[in-house]
Amino acid sequence: MKQKRFISRIEEIILLSIWRLQDNAYGITIQDEVIRATGKSWLTGSIYASLSRLLKQGLVFSIEGEPRAERGGRRKIYYKLKPEGQRALLAVKRVNSLIWSGIHKLEIED
């Protein structure tokens, strides 16, 4: 299947976080991972808009975990990458490496 459009940067970061977290990727861990990776404080809610979009695009899917007391008796919802998600990540990686290739002296010396 041909990729319609490249995923956005935030989508890329979230997809990578989910991939990295493997079996433990749910809302909170994803947020923490994103914060760790980018060094910026991401808001809980802003993760969900992207997650929702990724779900709709069919790049990720969700599975239910066990109900937990600290979640008000709700189940954890884990997210996992679909093959399409992996393909989308690879596509942006390729683009990234292509557009970065041959660029060496970008660093600014303080």
Partner: protein, 865 residues
């Protein structure tokens, strides 16, 4: 434990803000996060965190909402456009009908807005009041705009509440000349404060000094251009010819043209000083006075002080007989009902009437929309079904169809604006208005129109939307779904009946108004008004004194049958009510008779028979001061059997007058009044107008003779003539003419829109029954039978409309006719005639479709699909 402290409200809000597909996981995550923070940093911080999520999430929430609604709207839009294009005829009927209805509304909104804004452009509009007076002794008479000449300066002196005051007197038909140019104008004489109290800006000159010099004049831009052309008018000298003298006036200012929405307008403004000697000691109220009250002065309080003031300044005899009261400037145009107005006023009831008419026309158009949308609902049922199956709620369908209606109504609005600018030209010329609808000066109006479009769309779309969204998908998608419910059909028929009933009312109204106007113009007024030319000459006293010479000069022309010079013609003025004491009654016994003045040969010229006694005669000198002629009604009122030789006394006469004759009754006033008991006195020296009876076959020739001859006459007057019959009709029945025009226009539009709707319905029904028609034909049905079958349903509705329309029309038109003493009876033929008109028009409308269907080859119709 954690459940108690968890902020439920915030959680509820947050959940709603998050996309449904991740809502569940987010809710859990939020609560987990909350508990973690509560453990580490305390409950308060956790709560703060939780609540702060709401505003933080808000931007992305809005973003998402818009994204998805835009997607949906795109889809709705697409289906709407497709529907419009696919069903061109129906879309045209809907849009065009609505556009006509809206265009009527736009014109009427413009009209009503101007009516309401009359005189409000003055900066001090809310502080300006007019003093009106009413004679209350010996009996209440109609109030007039006139007040005494001297009260303005006295009011300023006596009352600190009065900041300023202006007196006005308007004269008609003066001639002004500049070099060879002569123009007839209506000068306004006013105090210099006019320019300060009212907001009449000057283009040139200074409003403080422009009228200070008694020999100055301020003219309007438009008049300046007519007189001076491109030349600078400032400082030029104009000669004004008043009745008996002429004087020079120097132009000291140019007025911006007076806005049309003023209850009085003028283009020639001269200082009051010129009229001072004439009016200063007048015992009667003779000028119009406007007061500028200080801010915060209550007009009611001030009004209470006026009676004392009147007593102080007027002779007792007049003070007790007269009442003064205040009229706010802004209410004069619509609410003042007093005599001797300086301009043409209107009445608020006009605005109501016209608004009602416009609303009815718009309503008829909205009904079209409702009818066609519900009738054609079967064509959209599949769409509704599919939408519902893939998850659309009833609310969404409802919104879709409402949105569609509003969209259509906006398209209609675009056309309406174009149509309105066309209508406006007719309206302006019929109603004598100067309404415009330029975009820049009417921004508020256009905003209001957008609102109107939404309302109209909502009103006409609501019922179809509810109707369409109510279907169950399973029923709809089943193939043999029977479209339309009994209720739907009933509503549709009801709406058609109402539409045609409204059209019928308008048509009956048109007929009644037309008949009444016809009746008035044909009615024998008791005098002969045909082929009479009227030339007013009272503005040149020197000329009028040569009446004998004028008569002999003009009667030399063979086309002029007879000439008189007299006060005025019959038919214009009902006379001045005068208290008379007839012979044989005691001193305090009075009879009220209307007094009229007539000149030489008045009765014989107008063909009024003297049925007893004799006419006034120039040879008998005593006729001027001691003779009187009565009309039949007056004789009846006095109860005299042999009136000739009896005497009548009155305060108005210098001595008792003897009855020398009785004339046949004739109509001295308009046909709204009955013939009143009247008497005529002889005034051979009052020579206001020339009346010529001319030969009917050479009228053009006669007029060009008069025009040419006039130039040699010793007068400054411009040749100005009217045909009497024409003049009487236009000046007395102006309002009725307007009503008649409005009715004609409205009934035309109403029936047109209603027929558009009917056409649409017929088209639809015929399409639905194509197969049925084909089968009928195959089985031997003939064309006439099929046409009848198809038309029957519609004709029934139109007939039913009569039952609704007749009583309404009867009540409304009967009320209108009450204004006339001499009126037609509303006859059954008027109803039948309108019924036939509507029936024929609607039958023709429907028959286009039905005949087309009936003559179609059954092979084609049966193969269809």
């Amino acid at each position: 434990m954690s459940n108690i402290s968890f902020p439920k409200i915030a959680a509820w809000i947050l959940e709603r803000m998050i996309e449904p597909n991740v809502r569940y996981s987010a809710a859990g995550d939020f609560e987990e996060r909350f508990n973690a923070i509560a453990r580490e940093k305390g409950l308060l911080i956790a709560r703060l965190f939780f609540w702060s999520q709401i505003p933080i999430l808000f931007p992305s929430f809005i973003n998402n909402q818009i994204y998805w609604s835009v997607e949906m709207i795109k889809n709705y839009f697409k289906t709407t456009i497709r529907n419009i294009v696919k069903h061109k005829v129906f879309s045209f009927i809907n849009i065009f009908g609505l556009a006509i209805g809206m265009a009527c509304c736009i014109v009427i909104i413009l009209f009503v807005r101007e009516e309401l804004n009359f005189d409000r452009y003055h900066e001090n509009a809310n502080q300006i009041y007019r003093i009106a007076s009413q004679r209350i002794q010996p009996s209440n008479s109609k109030p007039t705009t006139r007040s005494h000449y001297n009260i303005a300066p006295n009011l300023i002196n006596d009352f600190p509440e009065v900041e300023d005051a202006v007196r006005l007197i308007k004269h008609n038909g003066f001639v002004v000349s500049y070099g060879d140019k002569r123009l007839t104008i209506n000068p306004l004489y006013a105090d210099p404060s006019l320019l300060e109290v009212f907001t009449f800006p000057l283009i040139r000159g200074d409003k403080k000094t422009a009228l200070q010099d008694p020999n100055s004049v301020v003219i309007s831009e438009e008049l300046a251009e007519r007189i001076f052309g491109a030349k600078n008018p400032m400082g030029e000298i104009l000669v004004i010819h008043s009745q008996s003298s002429k004087y020079d006036l120097k132009v000291t200012g140019i007025l911006k043209n007076i806005p049309y929405n003023s209850h009085f307008t003028f283009n020639f403004l001269a200082p009051m000083e010129h009229l001072k000697s004439r009016y200063e000691n007048n015992r009667y109220p003779s000028c119009t006075t406007y007061l500028l009250l200080n801010e915060n002065v209550s007009p009611e309080e001030f009004e209470k002080k006026i009676p004392n003031f009147v007593e102080k300044y007027l002779e007792e005899r007049y003070a007790s007989a007269l009442k003064y009261f205040l009229q706010p400037l802004t209410s004069i145009h619509l609410h003042s009902d007093v005599a001797l107005e300086i301009g043409q006023n209107s009445d608020i009831s006009n605005s109501y009437k016209l608004s009602a008419v416009a609303l009815v026309v718009l309503l008829i158009a909205c009904f079209n929309f409702m009818n066609l949308s519900t009738a054609r609902s079967s064509q959209r049922l599949r769409e509704v079904g599919v939408r519902k199956v893939v998850g659309a709620g009833r609310g969404q369908i409802l919104r879709q169809f409402l949105g569609e209606a509003i969209f259509l109504s906006f398209i209609a609005l675009l056309f309406a604006v174009i149509l309105a600018s066309l209508f406006l030209q007719f309206f302006n010329s019929y109603m004598n208005r100067h309404l415009t609808m330029g975009f820049n000066e009417n921004l508020v109006l256009y905003a209001g129109l957008a609102f109107l479009a939404v309302i109209v769309g909502f009103f006409s779309g609501a019922y179809p939307a509810v109707f369409l969204s109510s279907f169950k998908p399973v029923d709809v998608l089943k193939k043999d779904f029977k479209k339309g419910t009994m209720f739907g059909v009933f509503v549709r028929k009801g709406l058609v009946v109402v539409q045609f009933a409204a059209s019928l009312v308008f048509i009956i109204g048109t007929i009644v108004v037309f008949q009444q106007l016809n009746f008035i113009s044909k009615k024998d007024l008791g005098f002969d008004k045909s082929h009479i030319i009227k030339i007013p000459i009272y503005k040149d006293r020197k000329f009028t004194q040569r009446s004998e010479w004028i008569k002999s000069e003009l009667s030399r022309n063979p086309n002029i049958l007879s000439v008189i010079v007299t006060v005025d013609s019959p038919g214009t003025y009902g006379g001045n009510p005068t208290q008379c004491s007839p012979e044989g009654s005691s001193d305090d016994e009075f009879v009220k008779l209307n007094q009229l003045m007539v000149g030489e040969d008045f009765f014989s010229f107008f063909g009024i028979d003297i049925i007893d006694g004799r006419d006034f005669s120039k040879q008998i000198a005593s006729d001027v001061d001691s003779a009187i002629i009565l009309n039949e009604t007056a004789v009846k009122r006095l109860g005299w059997t042999d009136p000739i030789g009896k005497q009548i006394r009155s305060d108005d006469f210098d001595k008792a007058r003897t009855v020398i004759g009785v004339v046949k009754d004739f109509h001295n006033a308009s046909l709204r009044q009955e013939i009143r008991p009247s008497f005529y006195v002889y005034m051979p020296d009052w020579l206001d107008c020339i009346f010529l009876r001319v030969r009917p076959n050479n009228i053009q020739e006669t007029i060009s003779f008069l025009e040419k001859r006039w130039l040699e006459f010793p007068t400054h007057l411009v040749f100005n003539y009217r045909f009497l019959d024409d003049y009487l009709e236009t000046s007395l029945y102006k309002d009725e003419k307007k009503t008649s025009n409005v009715f004609k226009f409205a009934s035309g539009l109403a029936i047109f829109i209603a027929c558009l709707g009917l056409f649409g319905l017929a088209l639809f029904t015929v399409n639905q029954r194509t197969k049925e028609i084909g089968i009928r034909k195959v089985l031997g049905g003939n064309v006439a039978g099929i046409v009848f079958l198809l038309s029957k349903d519609f004709i029934k509705l139109v007939l039913a409309a009569n039952f609704l329309a007749w009583p309404v029309a009867y009540i409304v038109m009967n009320r209108w006719l009450q204004d006339f003493v001499y009126r037609i009876r509303i006859d059954i033929w008027m109803f039948l005639f309108s019924a036939v008109i509507v029936l024929v028009i609607s039958f023709l409308t429907v028959s286009y479709q039905t005949i087309k269907a009936a003559i179609a080859n059954p092979v084609d119709s049966l193969r269809y699909e």
